[in-house]
Symmetry: C2
Subunit: 344 residues, 2 copies
DNA sequence: CTGTTAGCGCCTTCAA
DNA sequence: TTGAAGGCGCTAACAG
């Protein structure tokens, strides 16, 4: 039994016997209003179920208190965790979030961005799709409101960004595996076109190199980032004449494919081989005796993102002031049972 | 280098040498405008990077083309799939989605709903938190815009809803397990306070009863819906003097806990026991040789939800017309390897 | 302290 | 076919 249209400030004013300005001042705690009138206004507002009309307020004030959140791929548990944290933090700061899932489709990203411009979001948080669309670079550089990139940077684009130090991430994996004595180490890296994948590989390679080990280039599996690709790559590695003693999967989808392949082949972790993955997906608990992972600090990334963006928002209508900030946060190694010392 | 504030319709009009009315008519394809002026207007709009101001348009037109999506728990993969589908369908229909995650916290739900009222969302899609807040019933009954419940209904509330037929879901599990000869069947059901849990249990019980089997009440594990609770319940069942031959976990979090417990105990599926779960979480592929599940038709639910809501939106400003529609969709059994015939 | 008033940008009559 | 003008609900300046 949905009801009549919502009351306006005028009706509240009439019921309270005051002017609209008094209502506005009372509800926004701006300007001075006597206790008596405040009480009358609040009572009237409650009685009528008054809710200020956000569009009218925005039109007048120039701020929407809306943030746009453009996510490359909601199905990735890591991004989902970022979304959860960002939504919570934004909401706590008084901002609503318009969620847009690009699903790695550049066209959807472009349409969504145009919509966020129309909505006059006060700021936009972008996890960009891997492939861009024509004009994306310029569109993001000329954003009429503050914007910030998360997780993925776009080469050559001057825009605030918060990312993981992915070279360090690869190095952490390298050092851990080297400590355990592994020499035949394989990587399922996804696409080499992608900067993050390259950085993680570089970190692994240089980490091993600094310990005197050379990464066998034939054990580097390159393809896309899908679970199916991870599964196929893992199958190839597991059938290898000299099977690797450890496999590093550089992303959630890939590691899921890897684990599925290992299960299908009936191999046992870590007896038959060690596995190290990135992030902490919900299913990490299914791997006995626990998944060794390199985690990205998702909560810290979300906090840094929201606070950086909101500070830009309050700095002024545009983010022109100062250079673009590129913030890198450090990953951490979490050792569990899926990696073990190699038998000699 | 974010740029100047966005141009208004006036600046487009001035550049094109026409009036604002002509610009509006051109861009909205309403009214008649000569080809010549249309071209000039479009050129001017493109040149200036004009994007209509959504707040101004909403204020004038009374419609925001925004849908509110209030989700009880984003961390549940089933809800996440619904969110993905709903976002995609809404976006395709020209609506933006404000995402709100309640995280099963009634207070957050209440705050979010108030915000959606202020935003004057054209419609709201609600997966309600299990616990309500004082006044929720009334607030939802008196919603000033069309609203629709998804997955969970609220007892006594007259509002459109789209849910799974959970009794049928329980019955499907029952019939499958009975076909395989199972008699000692356990259930990890979550909280009996929750209607869905009760319906699924009822379905299981009646399904078994109709085959002449009585469900052993001591094998019904009741607690909350967390992974930890599922794990604890599973541990109790697995240590049972007479271990059940099959376990039915009625929700994603619970089944994850169950699988973890089985892995920890070193038991093998389906040799040591059969497992049947609900929904298709991303990690279903990790269970060899495949998880037998009862799936909820998430895509169909999303489609029905969005189309029902949007039809209410276009019916008129309120959803008063007609009775509340309660739509139930049917679950389906997907047989894989985690369930097997009992050895006799 | 309180009230009156002028727009914010847009769409939609209504006149020309 | 085109343009001029009013007003959606709200806030901020200003007047009393």
């Amino acid at each position: 039994m949905p009801a009549a249209p919502l009351p306006t400030i005028h009706e509240v004013a009439r019921l309270a016997g005051v002017s609209v300005a008094t209502v506005s001042k009372t509800l926004n705690r701006s300007g001075k209003v006597s206790e008596l009138l405040q009480a009358r206004v609040n009572a009237a507002a409650r009685k009528l179920g008054y809710a200020p009309h956000a569009s009218a307020r925005s039109l007048r004030s120039g701020a929407t208190r809306i943030l746009g959140l453009l996510v490359a791929d909601l199905a990735n548990p890591y991004f989902l965790r970022l979304v959860e944290s960002i939504e919570r933090l934004s909401s706590a700061a008084g901002y609503s979030v318009i969620l847009c899932n690009s699903a790695e489709d550049p066209e959807r990203e472009e349409r969504h961005l145009a919509m966020l411009l129309s909505q006059r979001a006060d700021g936009v948080i972008i996890i960009p799709t891997r492939r861009g669309w024509s004009g994306r670079q310029a569109a993001l550089a000329d954003l009429p409101m503050p914007g910030i990139l998360v997780d993925r940077r776009i080469e050559g684009l001057e825009l605030d960004s918060v990312t993981t130090d992915n070279v360090a991430l690869g190095r952490l994996a390298a050092e851990h595996l080297d400590d355990l004595g592994h020499r035949r180490i394989a990587v399922i890296m996804g696409s080499p076109e992608h900067q993050i994948a390259r950085h993680r590989l570089d970190g692994l390679r240089s980490g091993l190199a600094s310990r005197g080990t050379t990464l066998d280039e034939r054990l580097i599996e390159k393809d896309n980032f899908s679970e199916a690709a991870g599964h196929a790559a893992a199958m190839r590695l597991l059938r290898h004449a000299q099977r690797p003693t450890a496999i590093f999967a550089t992303n959630n989808h890939l590691s899921l494919g890897l684990l599925r392949a290992i299960a299908e082949r009936g191999l046992s972790i870590p007896d038959d081989l060690s596995v190290i993955a990135v992030d902490e997906p919900p299913w990490a608990g299914l791997v006995r005796p626990g998944m060794t992972i390199v985690t990205q600090p998702s909560e810290a990334i979300a906090q840094t993102t929201v606070s950086t963006l909101l500070s830009r928002v309050s700095e002024g209508r545009s983010g022109v002031e100062g250079e673009a900030r590129s913030i890198q946060l450090q990953p951490a190694l979490v050792v569990r049972g899926s990696t073990a010392a190699i038998r000699t």
